[in-house]
């Protein structure tokens, strides 16, 4: 197809070019670069070609040309890069300067995720993934007893699965291709009016990494990594009309965007359920009815419209007012799937859409934006700017009462009472307003700036509304012609007000009688731990410094340096609370006064520092040098607390000898400090060995990323006896994971020789090396055990955790692994 696009473009243009040259009246210019390339990538990693399509053989690297009729200003130009490849770009334009123009473009983006993935699944098309057979596990029991586990029930199942996988695994390509074609027509019928109409068609297909969990929730979940088929189409229309006068302008824009997913549903076979009765499920150990197929809704078709009007006015006293109003409408009305693929033996027809509160999504969100900005220079040297911005997101999706089947599995009876859920129509409106001033001081071309901004966000069905005051100060000075210094400071104080941690209870619709004596009961006790503060709605104090310097000490030498420091402190004044006090739900005495530890949970603090330095030096007319370096460090601190969810209502009933304690136990807290560092350096040089004839250019870039997590508290140590270290095999164990590292080395070298006029011969070499080490992509870490093949993972704590969930049939480790590549090319460039 891409060859078709490229060749069609060239064929359409050929007669035009020929005609023009024959008439001898057309000015033409252009350039074409072709070549042959060879590469060696070891191993053949998809990471090398993640967003490109490099392959051995002939390449049409670059083609552009332009034709202009000097008599009437008509033009035609073509630009093509990487033609005939999956990463080609084409831009074709024609028109008449100052009057009208047409641009047709096409951009193709591959996103290669893996060429070594292996799966037992067979893609039947239409989102259906089946298996040639099911794993012949000897024991069908999601939660065996310790005695059964000790007797080998778990290992017998794992061995059978490993043998089954060895006969069913086959390769599967993982990655997508996004191709977008667009056309824009521009017309300027009069100097006061401009119109533009743009149409685009985008296709994205291939497969993406996803998961297919079936089973009760962990630790009784059976899971598999899947290759989700992708078949998206997006078509857009955009119309713009401008009316421009010297002192006022108006721009109207209308956008219509339609997204279609030709695969609405992903349905995958359960590798462990044989569906012996043909009723869509099996019963395991008289305790769990597990479906033979899982099913979920994929990205729904949706439509988006947006209309906006922007106005700008030049007003007296060198002032300007700009204002924008925009209305947006997002709609989605997909036909819904049933709760489950099977009734799962229940009297309730969970596999029928007849019991749904509605059979279509009927989802709608409206947005409204109003923005006004006014700046004025009331006196010499002083600039004032006032702004206001209002954005309202109104969710009009109807709220309904739904049941909820956990991953196509149910225990005896109906799904848990807690699975009675309401879909909440989250909405918010945001108001920003403020004033900025700047004053030009009468020395060193210095500008001093001060500003204030206020942001208020009101939310529905969220824990808090927030109000933030921001103060800004800036200084820019040029003490000499060769030195510019800038400094900026921002202080932000966000107040989350009263944090309502019971807001998630609004998403449940069960009665207290439904809960009975159940001690979990998230609606009437709490859902998230009361000490949790979600960072996006919590208090926050922000400090941010920016420093920058530009130095040009001599002709041809530029140095730019910058530094940024930002600290976000999310401390929200959390204190101990008694969430069950006077709850009215019959909490026993002693439990009603149970108190949280009063230490804030969630993200506590984040610190970022960025350093950057750029140097460019035109040493001589023939020699250019450049270098750059940057470093970024992000340190974030968070706290968690592990507690027994089954004792929210009666924390005192948790056994004093239980490692998994109540929500009141301070020693169940853990801390994680993540240290994320990125260092990038690069050098480059360009040298005209023989000016105008022989040129050499080279550059080298090294980038290194590291993520360290310093984990402490529960997980490394016992919540009962904090001086005791938990063993790696303990069911709650966690350690500082290995450092995640990414390293990229890249060397480019090019030698170009112009041996005749308009003809340039080139030699190119690229060395590209990528190294990755990531504990979340390896099947080789202390807590993960491979069984039979690297494609089956389970935990190693079967001595204490007897539940056979936590299985993850996976596509393989390091789907885009480390590689080392050498690339060479010989090119010929013709300029005309």
């Amino acid at each position: 197809m891409k060859k078709t696009y490229a060749l069609a473009s060239l064929l359409l243009l050929a007669p035009v070019v020929a005609q023009a040259q024959e008439e001898g009246k057309i000015e033409s210019s252009g350039e074409i670069t072709v070549g042959i390339q060879q590469m060696d990538v070891d191993p053949d990693s998809s990471k090398f070609n993640k967003n490109r399509d490099l392959d051995d053989g002939f390449n049409l690297y670059d083609l552009w040309f332009g034709l202009v009729d000097p008599n009437n200003g008509r033009y035609l130009d073509f630009q093509g890069e990487n033609l005939l490849r999956d990463d080609q770009s084409i831009r074709f334009g024609f028109g008449s300067y100052g009057s009208w123009g047409v641009v047709i473009d096409r951009n193709e983006i591959p996103h290669n995720l893996s060429n070594k993935a292996r799966t037992p699944y067979i893609d039947q098309g239409g989102g259906l993934l089946t298996l040639p057979s099911t794993a012949p596990i000897p024991n069908t029991n999601l939660a065996p007893t310790t005695a059964q586990a000790t007797a080998g029930m778990l290992t017998d199942n794992d061995a059978a699965t490993a043998t089954w996988l060895s006969t069913t695994l086959h390769g599967v390509e993982l990655g997508t291709q996004r191709d977008k074609t667009g056309a824009t027509i521009s017309i300027t019928p009069h100097q006061d009016f401009k119109f533009r109409l743009s149409l685009s068609d985008e296709r994205k297909d291939g497969s993406n990494l996803t998961y297919g969990a079936i089973g009760d929730r962990p630790p009784r979940t059976l899971n598999a990594q899947l290759a989700e088929p992708i078949d998206y189409k997006t078509q857009e229309l955009k119309f713009e009309a401008e009316y421009n006068q010297p002192t006022y302008q108006a721009l109207f824009t209308y956008l219509l965007s339609g997204f279609e997913n030709d695969i609405d549903t992903l349905r995958w076979q359960n590798p462990y359920v044989a569906d012996v009765d043909g009723n869509g499920y099996d019963t395991w150990n008289a305790a769990h009815n597990i479906a033979s197929f899982g099913q979920r809704a994929l990205a729904p078709d949706n439509r988006y419209q947006n209309a906006s009007l922007a106005l700008g006015f030049d007003l007296p006293m060198a002032s300007r007012l700009s204002a924008t109003v925009a209305y947006g409408l997002m709609e989605q009305d997909e036909t819904l799937l049933p709760y489950s693929t099977s009734s799962l033996g229940s009297a309730t027809a969970f596999d029928s859409t007849g019991i749904l509160p509605r059979t279509n999504a009927d989802a709608e969100i409206d947005t409204l934006l109003f923005n006004a900005d006014y700046s004025i220079n009331p006196i010499e040297r002083l600039n004032l700017r006032a702004f206001v911005r209002y954005y309202d997101l109104d969710n009009k999706t109807p709220q309904s009462n739904w049941w909820y089947v956990t991953d196509d599995t149910r225990g005896t009876g109906n799904p848990s009472y807690k699975n009675k859920r309401v879909n909440l129509a989250y909405s918010f409106d945001q108001m920003n307003y403020g004033l900025d001033t700047s004053y030009n001081l009468p020395f060193w071309r210095t500008t001093l700036g001060l500003g204030y901004e206020r942001e208020d966000i009101d939310r529905e069905f969220r824990e808090a509304n927030t109000e933030e005051d921001m103060l800004k100060a800036s200084l820019k000075t040029r003490p000499t012609d060769w030195l510019t210094l800038r400094a900026k400071y921002l202080y932000g104080d966000r107040d989350g007000g009263e944090y309502n941690n019971t807001v998630t209870a609004q998403s449940y619709w069960y009665s207290l009688a439904d809960a009975g004596a159940d001690r979990d009961n998230p609606q009437f006790t709490f859902s998230n731990h009361p000490d949790m503060r979600k960072f996006d709605v919590s208090d926050r104090e922000r400090d941010q410094f920016d420093l920058a310097a530009t130095v040009m000490p001599m002709a041809g030498l530029d140095l730019t340096g910058s530094y940024r420091y930002r600290k976000d402190d999310y401390a929200s004044g959390v204190t101990a609370t008694q969430p069950l006090l006077a709850s009215g739900i019959g909490v026993a005495a002693g439990d009603d006064t149970a108190a949280t530890p009063g230490d804030q949970l969630g993200l506590l603090e984040s610190k970022t520092q960025r350093y950057a330095l750029d140097i460019s030096y035109a040493a001589t007319e023939r020699l250019n040098l450049n270098a750059f370096g940057s470093r970024e460090t992000i340190e974030s601190t968070q706290r968690g607390l592990e507690f027994n969810e089954n004792n929210k209502m009666n924390p005192t009933a948790v056994s004093g000898a239980a490692e998994l304690g109540p929500w009141t136990r301070t020693t169940s807290q853990w801390m994680a400090v993540t240290d994320d560092k990125t260092n990038t350096i690069g050098v480059g040089a360009g040298f005209e060995i023989i000016p105008g004839t022989l040129r050499f250019a080279t550059d080298y870039t090294y980038s290194q990323g590291k993520v360290d997590i310093d984990y402490s508290g529960f997980g490394t140590q016992s919540s009962l006896n904090p001086d005791n270290t938990l063993a790696d095999t303990h069911e709650f164990a966690f350690r500082n994971p290995e450092t995640v590292t990414h390293k990229q080395y890249n060397l480019n070298a090019t030698l170009e020789y112009q041996f005749v006029k308009n003809l340039v011969f080139g030699l190119h070499y690229i060395y590209d090396r990528y190294k990755i080490s990531d504990w979340m992509q390896e099947a080789d870490t202390p807590w993960v055990e491979s069984v039979g093949s690297e494609y089956l993972l389970r935990d190693t704590s079967d001595a204490t955790s007897t539940q056979w969930g936590n299985r993850l049939i996976n596509l393989g480790s390091y789907l885009g692994p480390s590689y080392e590549a050498h690339f060479g090319a010989v090119t010929l460039t013709y300029r005309f």
């Binding site: 770009s89 831009r91 983006i109 100097q191 998961y211 969990a213 998206y232 997006t234 006068q245 302008q249 965007s257 979920r296 809704a297 729904p300 949706n302 007003l315 204002a323 989605q332 819904l336 969100i365 947005t367 934006l369 006004a372 900005d373 206001v388 209002y390 969710n395 739904w402 991953d407 879909n423 909440l424 969220r462 731990h529 949790m532 960072f535 996006d536 730019t560 969630g602 950057a612 750029d614 750059f628 940057s630 970024e632 968070q638 607390l641 592990e642 507690f643 089954n646 984990y711 790696d728 069911e731 966690f734 990414h742 979340m776 099947a779 870490t781 807590w783 935990d795 936590n806 993850l808």
Partner: protein, 300 residues
């Protein structure tokens, strides 16, 4: 409050439009630089070419050169060289550097014609406030870039000359394909100013992201509020050392907000939620929003 606010703003705009009189949009050259006070228009490009032949030869191939030559609209554009450089009779008579412009003055000249469309918010933009001018990023006298008359061949190189830290972010293992040439800074940002924060093209972060990620647009029956409000709550669009541009590693991101009890409170070894793959997303796959009736916890 909303009605009062809207009414006040509409009145302000109506008032503004009354005052936006039809003054000449052309630059007051004498106010720009007193040296223009006695100058008149030469109206002859050959006079310029007498000394600036090389520059004009390259300029002729630019969109300005061609538009002014072949499609000039109105007297301003018809002046060609003097449309931007002002009346040059004094300069022709006695060539010197007294009529050179500062960065801000160049911007004033450009805004004669280019205060329209996507540049309508320039005057109140962060770049203008930061004393960036048109010629900080553009060069008009030759085609150094394939489009946009940029000062360097590559758009990223122009932006990185001031935003060098972003180059480092774009080199992280998870990044948008900017350095591969498939996207550019202008894919998300309007450097000329916009109504969005950080000069984003969309009114919000999400509206900008939805330009390409239409599958995440929804709306969905079950919304994840932190997603609906701001994609940047979980993602860093410039680059991340974590997969999928995420701000934190695996389950540590989700644990910044969720503490229900049981399997989700702890990055423990013996749960599929943590040691391998994508952490909590191993099961909670529809974290951007679910359209499934059993999707309340984003597992369907």
């Amino acid at each position: 409050m909303k009605k009062t606010f809207k009414g006040a703003c509409l009145m302000g705009i109506a008032w503004a439009s009354m005052f936006a009189t039809a003054q000449a949009g052309e630059v007051d050259w004498a106010a720009l630089n007193p040296a223009f006070a006695k100058a008149g228009y030469v109206k002859d490009k050959e006079a310029c070419a007498g000394c600036h032949a090389d520059s004009i030869e390259a300029y002729k191939k630019t969109v300005h050169g061609r538009t002014f030559q072949h499609g000039a609209k109105g007297p301003l554009q018809a002046r060609d060289c003097e449309a931007c450089h002002g009346p040059r009779s004094e300069h022709v008579a006695a060539p010197d550097a007294s009529l050179k412009f500062s960065t801000a003055q160049y911007s004033t000249v450009c805004l004669q014609c280019h205060q329209d469309g996507g540049r309508m918010h320039w005057q109140n933009s962060q770049h203008k406030t930061g004393e960036v001018g048109c010629v900080s990023c553009h060069t008009l006298m030759q085609n150094k870039s394939k489009k946009g008359l940029l000062a360097k061949a590559d758009e990223s190189a122009v932006c990185y000359s001031c935003h060098a830290d972003v180059r480092g972010q774009m080199s992280k293992q998870s990044h948008h394909p900017v350095k591969e040439g498939k996207m550019a800074c202008s894919s998300c940002h309007n450097p000329h100013g916009s109504v969005g924060k950080s000069m984003l093209k969309g009114a919000t972060v999400n509206e900008t992201c939805f330009n390409c990620h239409q599958d995440k647009r929804g709306p969905f029956i079950f919304e994840h509020p932190v997603v609906r409000e701001n994609c940047a709550n979980c993602h860093d669009a410039h680059g991340s050392n974590n997969p999928d541009l995420l701000n934190a590693k695996g389950s540590f991101l989700c644990l910044q907000c969720h503490s229900y009890g049981g399997h989700i409170n702890l990055p423990r070894y013996n749960r599929t939620s943590n040691p391998y793959g994508q952490g909590c997303v191993n099961c909670h796959v529809t974290q951007h929003g679910s359209n499934h009736p059993s999707g309340a916890k984003f597992t369907r």
